[in-house]
Structure formats: structure tokens, C-alpha cells
Amino acid sequence: MEWVNAIVQGTLLGGLYALFAAGLSLIFGVMRLVNIAHGDFIVLGAYLGLSVTTILGIHPLVALVFVVPCMAMIGYILQRGILNQTLGGDLLSPLLVTFGLSVILQNALLEIYSADPQKMNAGALETASVSLGDLSLGVLPLLTFGIAVAVIAALQWTFYRTALGRAFRATSDNQEIAQLMGLNRRHIFGMAMALALAVTAIAGIMLGIRTSFDPSVGGGRLIFGFEAVIIGGLGNLWGTLAGGVILGVAQTIGAKIDPGWQLLAGHIVFLAILAVRPNGLFPRVSG
């Protein structure tokens, strides 16, 4: 039973990792940009949530109403103002620029909020649980997992059922032809980054309710996000959810064997999958 419990808890934890990874997956899928600052944007989302909840005295989940559009706007401006200039040529320039952004974000957050660990107070939600047979499931992890599924379903719907999604896919398929079809690449990329950071805002708030955070935790979230994306297969959003779940389960089972093994177990499973299936478990089938 303890093992079943570890697997279920790990699955729910995977929801959070999928939220970390979804924005990363989307950005890479649309514009082949590897955003090194992604983890720091998750932390930025958490801090924005903290500020909004403290100033307005509202529940962190209600703060989403403010933080999500705010992060989306930051994403659009960032893409049009900086990142678009780095795309198109060498892969190195976007890597260096997002690395620089990561350093800037960490230090700016340190300057504003100090290095003290912070946490958002979600009240009774944090400790509430439901019993399912012998299992006791936290309401917060369940909610996080539910939100992750909803976010991925919404992104999937956007990609395959809307004009914007079609534009994303066309640009990702063949940029030059997309330009000739009248698509404004700069705007499309801006919209993709806006959407990615909107999802990142949700990830940040869920992170901030679940655990304490400080300006330096972005790097670790970035690694979890990367691993989830790569385990699932690049460009496959449902695969990213599966990747998050696999990573989460590996970590909880590792922790069950020995508490010090939690992170190591996740990385080992990641390496093992990469060795056997270099393209991930569910790579997108190209036409």
C-alpha cells in the first residue's frame, strides 16, 4: 500500500512538473528557442503572486486573475523587444541571451524581495485532504494535477482548433513559407511567448502555494521542466504531462527507498529513458 501511495503522490507531483514544462515545450515547439530563464520566470510568477496576495489581501488562486495577464504581457514585450532579435541564425545567441535574462531576473528578485524564503498562504487548502480507500490525497496536489491537465488540454485545443494555433504550427513547420503566406512571424512568436508565460504564471503560483521559494530556486525548476519535456518527447504536449508524471513518480519512489535519493532517482530515470529512447517516449510523428 505504501508503494501505491508513493506512485499516486508521485503522479500528482508530476502535474506540477508538467506545469513547469508546458511553457518550455510550447516555446521550443513554435520557435525552437530554448529558454534558459524559464525557471526564473516561474519564480517571478511566484513572487508576483506573493506581492498581489500581500497587497490586496486575496487568496493566491484569485491572484491568478492578475498575475496571468501580467506575465503574458511581459512575455509579449520580451519576445518582440529582445528575443525576436536573437532568432533565425545561430542557436547560441538565444541561449546566451536567455542565460543573461536568468542572471538578471535572479538578481533583481534578490534585490527586491531579499534571499529570505517566502511562501504564499492558501489557508485551509494547504492541509485539506480526501480519503480514497486507504489513501489520503491532499486537495492541493489533486487541484494542481487537475489544473495541469486542464492547461495541457487548453493548449492542445489552441494548437489544433484555433486560427492562432494553426499559425503557430505553420510557423513551426516552415518559417519562410509562413512569411510568404502573410504571417507576421514576430507577432506570432510574441503571442507564443505570451501564452507560455501565462502558463508559467500558473506554475509559479502553484509552486509558491506548495513550497517555500527564494530567488535562487529557478534553476532546479528549469531542470525538472526540461526533463519532463524530453522524457515526453519534444513537441508533444500530452507527452510532456506523461514526462512530468514519470519524473514525479521516480522521485517519490526514490524518496521512499531513501529520502536522500529523491532528486537522484528522477535524474537516473531521465538518463535511462534518454539512453533507450533518445527522442523521448512519445515524439511527435512528423508528416
Binding site: A163, R166, A167, R169, A170, D173, N174, E176, I177, A178, Q179, L180, M181, G182, L183, N184, R185, R284, S286, G287
Partner: protein, 242 residues
Amino acid sequence: MTAFLQLDQVSKSFGAVTVAEDLSYGVQAGEALGVIGPNGAGKTSMFNLITGTLRPNSGKVWFDGQDVTGMNAAKRCRAGMARSFQVPQPFSGMTVFENAMIAATQAAGLSGQAAEKFCLEILEQTELLDRANTLAGGLTLLGRKRLELTRALCAKPKLLMLDEIAGGLTESECASLVKTIKDIHARGVTIIWIEHVVHALLAVVDRLIVIDFGMKIAEGEPKAIMQSPEVQEIYLGIEADA
């Protein structure tokens, strides 16, 4: 400038390779212009210069009464230019219908049901309606050529540029494609058509220009041009009897 599309002394070179040299000609609204010339003469580069994929080193491109020389490809497309590619370049991970919808929504500015209805009409015209939900990457060569045409038409072009769209097709495939293009021209769309399959070209175009080494070496009535000594020389043994 009076012509609908006007190239005014356009020159472009990549290092020692010249793809356009002092290239000037005009296309009137509603006209169908054929372009011939040997491989590597600069015909496709000329399309790239017109659509904005390439910028000329000197000279100007005028389209529909405005100087578009400094305009990017997306803007020129929305202004009414659309082209097909010699080697079909569909969005291969998307369906035929979605490929058409990209052009209809982004280039022609349609949306919702109007866009869907318009795409279905064009797909019927280009005889791809029964393949609408096929992934574009899974089409045959004729299918992909037809998709090139579909996508260009869904952009509601005022100027349609076709790049060797009949190349590699069988006689009957070619004939049905020629009929489709004739119909499009009959509706008043201005066409520039680069083609090696001369008999297909002659069935549609009103005027012919010949390009070699990036220069215009002949221009005029198609039959007369085909019989001129320069063209006979270039095409000797290739299509001299077309």
C-alpha cells in the same frame, strides 16, 4: 509607373554570381506573362525579388501603384502577391485544409465560416476537395503541386506567381492543371508563370519573356519569341518544336 507589377532596373548578385542584372519589365493587370530561360538563369531568384524573400542590390519593384522594394514578404503577400514553389513546400504536418486556411486567414484576411467556405471553394476548383483532411506530407507529387496552387489562390492574390508548376507531371495531369490555371486567369487574376513545359505555358500566357544570366534577352508575343534565333539556340534539342 503604369504597369500593375513593374521591375525597374533590378540587380542582385551573391558575390560573383549574378541572378538579376538591370532587369526591367512590366506586367499589366489581368495579363498572363510567361517566363522561360535555361536552368540557373535567375528565374526563381526573380520571383524571390518580387515577393520580398530577396532584396535587390539596386533597382525598384512597384506593385499595384506603390513602391514595395523595402516591404517585407508578409506585407507584400497581404498586398496581394502569392506564389507557388517549384519544389512543393507544404506545411507537411498540417492537413490540406489547414494549409489552405493559413493562406485564407493570414493573407486574405478572412475568418471563421467565411474562410472555411472560401477554402472549400478553392479546394473544389483545384480538385483537392476529397483530400482536404489528408496530411499535406502524404500527398502525391500532383497533389502537392495542386496544394501549392490552392494555397496561393486561398491568399486571394491579385498577382499569382507560378514556378514550374507543370514540371514532373504526366501529360494528362499537366492538361488538367493547365485547364485549372486557364480558368483562374479567365477570372481576371494577373499571372506570371515560369515554366519549362512550353506547350503548357503557351496554352495560357499572352506574352513571353526570356531570361538568361539574370538578364532579359527577349520579350514579346509567345509564338514569335519561341521561333526567334536566341530562344531556338537556348532550347535547341530541348523544346525547339513546342
